[in-house]
């Protein structure tokens, strides 16, 4: 099957052609949402950050926002700021231009003279971007230019039996075809890190696996708490997962059996093709945003308990680990891996189905999360608000 997408001037390829209204600061959220309302089809990103960050935390927030602004799935970005914040709209716009986003405009609320004028001017920009975007046609693109983000959330005991091994099959196939797959969720690799380390491309990557795991575990140990309750969550436990080790051993299957090429920090772009691990928390939205900010154009998200979440700019394909959840949350589920549990389908059969679905979605088929307008967004903070 041919892969059809949008070729960007900087050599990247997109599978969507969004006009993004990006708030850089919590104070600009209402205006960004107001512009989106005026221009149906555009998509806004709002969040609670953008001011009073320091050091690496500031850099991470900035890097994440720029990752969205210059994402290959985004045709144009309208950056909306207040005017006095630390994460300046102009700075985000400039970094996005440098990263290859050719279509950027900026609205500063204080400069425009308030909410209504900012919305009116912003809507004008968005209208023009929508018109331009609608004239860009899909062309044939290569799998080598695609980054697949893998994720599991609301896991149950079936995650490690059905959906995650199928996603691993799909991820391995991606890698064989020259593409890239990101595995994430550092906390959800506690107890399974040795399996990943054994597949490291070299000694540096192998050491890095343990460094990143130990760094995250030390944070928890320093807090003097038992991880249980947060990891696994109450829903995970109700679904039969007893410990974080058990959850991790099911989780790691998402990465298939490919060689681990590199370990990258949150919201950074992979520099290698093949299987890459990004250091993110287990929090579904924060990790999803980190991988998308790192350039992932498509996401496959497995779930045992069922979750509705999506991304403002990347299609998110939901895979149910069991038939009950697939049927119970049919509004949100795209693929059922539950037939593996009943012995009616193999991991490879579901993996093939999943791969085909992924290609169709990249070619334009809408996911349930897209149809229903799920645009969840959250940045992983690594410092205090000052």
């Amino acid at each position: 099957m041919k892969l059809m997408g949008y070729k960007r001037a900087n050599g990247t390829v997109g599978v969507r052609n969004h006009v993004l209204i990006l708030s850089t600061i919590v104070c600009a959220n209402h205006v960004a949402a107001g512009i989106e309302k005026q221009v149906p089809g555009s998509v806004s990103v709002t969040h609670q950050h953008g001011c009073a960050h320091v050091g690496a935390d500031y850099e991470q927030v900035l890097r994440t926002l720029v990752g969205f602004a210059a994402h290959p799935n985004v045709y144009a970005t309208l950056v909306v700021g207040l005017g006095c914040e630390e994460v300046e709209a102009e700075k985000v716009a400039e970094a996005a231009r440098k990263a290859g986003q050719q279509n950027v405009a900026v609205i500063i609320i204080q400069k425009e003279g308030g909410t209504l004028k900012a919305i009116a001017k912003g809507a004008g920009y968005a209208r023009e971007f929508m018109s331009q975007a609608s004239q860009v046609a899909r062309e044939e693109i290569r799998m080598e230019d695609i980054i697949l983000a893998t994720e599991c959330g609301g896991s149950d005991a079936c995650s490690g039996l059905s959906a995650n091994p199928s996603l691993g099959y799909c991820s391995d196939k991606m890698v064989e075809l020259g593409g890239t797959a990101i595995l994430a969720e550092t906390t959800e690799l506690f107890g399974a890190e040795h399996l990943l380390a054994d597949r490291a491309a070299d000694e540096t990557v192998r050491k890095r696996v343990y460094e990143v795991i130990n760094r995250m575990e030390k944070k928890i140990l320093d807090m003097g708490v038992d991880l249980r309750g947060a990891q696994p969550s109450p829903g995970n436990m109700e679904g039969g997962i007893t410990t974080i080790e058990e959850k991790s051993l099911g989780c790691v299957y998402k990465g298939g059996e490919s060689t681990l090429q590199e370990v990258i920090d949150y919201a950074y772009k992979p520099t290698k093709k093949g299987l890459v691990w990004m250091d993110t928390p287990g929090h579904d939205i924060e990790q999803l945003v980190g991988m998308v900010a790192g350039g992932a154009q498509v996401v496959i998200f497995t779930t045992g308990r069922g979750t509705p979440t999506g991304s403002p700019i990347a299609p998110v394909i939901k895979v149910a680990t069991n038939t009950y959840t697939y049927e119970n949350m049919i509004d949100n589920m795209d693929v059922n891996a539950g037939m593996i549990v009943t012995g009616d389908e193999t991991i490879a059969e579901v993996g093939e189905r999943l791969f085909t679905e992924m290609v169709e979605v990249m070619n334009g088929k809408l996911t349930k999360a897209e149809i229903l307008g799920h645009h969840e967004f959250g940045i992983n903070r690594i410092g205090p608000t000052v």
Partner: protein
């Protein structure tokens, strides 16, 4: 005799996962590597939950996927539910520092 569905992920495991809800007194026959093992279920096991396939002494490692998923916090008889009430996680235990 009717056997409820369950699976052992590896020949190194000492627990099995129920692939359907199993009532107390239910019989289960599970494949472990080359062997076929049978066990009588001692208490209700919800779908997706684990039960012991052999006696697991307190402090012993609980194995699933051929890997360690924690340690038994009390003696567990074959056929008993294996979950948070009788298994301790060995990772991220800031409370044990």
């Amino acid at each position: 005799m009717l056997s409820y569905k369950a699976v052992m992920m590896s020949g190194r495991d000492n627990v099995a996962t129920a692939l359907e809800e199993i009532p107390a007194g239910g019989r289960v026959s599970v494949r472990k590597g080359e062997e076929q093992l049978g066990v009588e279920i001692k208490e209700h096991i919800p779908f997706g939950h684990k039960f012991a396939m052999e006696p697991i002494a307190a402090g012993t490692k609980v194995m699933k996927y051929g890997q360690v998923i924690g340690a038994a916090s009390q003696d567990i008889e074959p056929g008993r539910h294996v979950h948070t009430h009788n298994v301790e996680s060995l990772r991220g235990r800031g409370d044990k520092q």
